[in-house]
Amino acid sequence: MIIAEPKPIQEVAEYIKEYHKVLVVGCGGCTSVCLSGGETEADILATSLRILRKKEGQKLETVVTTATRQCEPEFIDGLKELVDEAEAVISLGCGVGVQFLAERFQEKWVLPALNTILAGGTVQPGQWEERCGLCGDCQLHLTGGICPVIRCAKSIQNGPCGGSQNGVCEISTEMPCAWQLIYEKLTVLNRLDLMLAYRPAKDWSKERSGGPRKMKREDAAL
């Protein structure tokens, strides 16, 4: 899933400083699961913004709602009335949610309350880690299911580099070297031959280097 983290509250307060009535929209999808943008977080954000405004001796009216998923038009269409009544919208969705809202409600400022950081999962309660670089050309069948594109600090295809030592990456002793992990996994699978084979330069055009990407499925079209 997509993992996002809250922006500093002052930053969000600054975005809306000229507005007096804002709609705060939580998301029931990924950002709710990673405890950054669900119903509860939307409530807390709205309350905090009101308190901050009050401290300045001013008033802020907030309306809070949560969309099942902000990345689906059908779930945001229903927000129209609430959006119309507000001067601006704060989204607790990921970058996708913010943009879907902004596209749907052309005449409104939609402001982000979160920083979207990664595509990953929960490794332990309260801790999420990156696992996918969304490169558009999955090579996990060659690496024992460990992605060097996103988990190696240099996205090296023929690793590990000379900075790998004691199992950790040259950039941090807290970070396992992805290629060490690949080496261990392929050793267990008895498939080290995969690491000996030269992997030619990657086709990054399938990644965002090729411009914004699209996926289409005829069978899902109406």
Binding site: A153, Q157, Y198
Partner: protein, 303 residues
């Protein structure tokens, strides 16, 4: 000869090669580089110029290479994969060749995190092995990386790569070296050696796989300036091993600099005896002026 390189000539003739390394300045004057060129001329076969090492912005390695070249020293330009994509790299490789560069050393490059622009975006479009393959392809297959023909005036580089016997997983290091050779590496410069036992083990595996016959291996030597510097490397530099006994030896003496030179000289003599070591690469970091003395003391001056 595959290239226009003098270093290639020395190595193919079986002479024990000596290369040194300099880091270009953090300003736009060539003065210091020219000074180094005058100092190193006649003492070494070629001089590496680092490519923004440790991700700190410096005068470009190609420009510094031209200054060395104009002052009678053969350069080895280093190219890292951190800052340029395949388009810029190939363009720079042709440009550098047109300016007289004949040796290139291909490496991943230190991550920008510890440099002076940690906010920079890194590139890593290709990795070091893919870079080697690209330079070899331009020379031997007469093709750009995309497969398009280079119809004339292909850049013919003597292709270098690095090997780090002190990184992990140790058993894989020799296999990765083999990958680099298969991709097109003609010569190898190793990481600085302080742990001679581990290097000997590495060379043993190299010989078992016959790799020393396929590539020229230059063993990396770095003179230590002080016990403190040695301790710093031991603790803080990823991919290096400095055994305690080396540090203890340094600590015992008053003239630590002298001892550092002595250790380096002894190492070179030991390295010379190892089958498969074709030369040494002296990396006297911020201490480049010691190179002639080390070469002299190690008895390597054969001019």
């Amino acid at each position: 000869m595959k290239s226009c390189s003098g270093l290639e000539k020395v190595l193919t003739e079986g002479r024990f090669a000596v290369t040194a390394e300099i880091g270009p300045p953090k300003h736009a004057s060539a003065e210091k580089i020219i000074e180094y060129a005058k100092m190193l001329k006649g003492w070494v076969d070629a001089v590496n110029i680092t490519d923004n090492q440790t991700a700190i912005v410096r005068l470009s390695s190609i420009a510094a290479g031209v200054h060395l070249y104009n002052n009678g020293v053969e350069p080895v330009i280093q190219v890292t994969c951190r800052d340029r994509n395949r388009i810029a790299m190939q363009s720079d490789l042709m440009g550098a060749y047109s300016l007289g560069m004949c040796n290139v050393l291909c490496l991943s490059g230190d991550h920008q995190k510890f440099g002076n622009h940690p906010q920079a975006k890194n590139v890593y479009d290709v990795d070091s092995i893919q870079l080697i393959d690209m330079v070899r392809g331009m020379r031997d297959d007469k093709k750009f990386q995309c497969g398009e023909d280079i119809k004339e005036h292909q850049p013919k580089y003597f292709i270098g790569a690095v090997a780090n016997p002190f990184a992990d997983p140790f058993e894989f290091r020799v296999l990765r070296l083999e990958k680099k050779i298969n991709a097109g590496a003609d010569f190898i410069q190793t990481q600085s050696i302080f742990d001679m036992n581990r290097f000997e083990k590495f060379m043993n595996m190299v010989r078992q796989r016959g790799l020393h016959k396929k590539v020229h291996i230059l063993a990396g030597v770095t003179p230590l300036k002080s016990a403190r510097a040695a301790r710093f490397i031991q603790k803080n530099v990823a991919g290096m091993i400095v055994p305690d006994e080396v540090i203890e030896r340094m600590e015992k003496v008053e003239d630590q600099k002298g001892e550092g030179i002595k250790i380096a000289t002894e190492q070179i003599q030991q390295l010379k005896k190892i089958e498969g070591v074709a030369g040494v690469h002296i990396m006297a970091i911020n201490w480049e002026d010691m190179v002639p003395e080390i070469v002299e003391k190690a008895g390597l001056k054969n001019y």
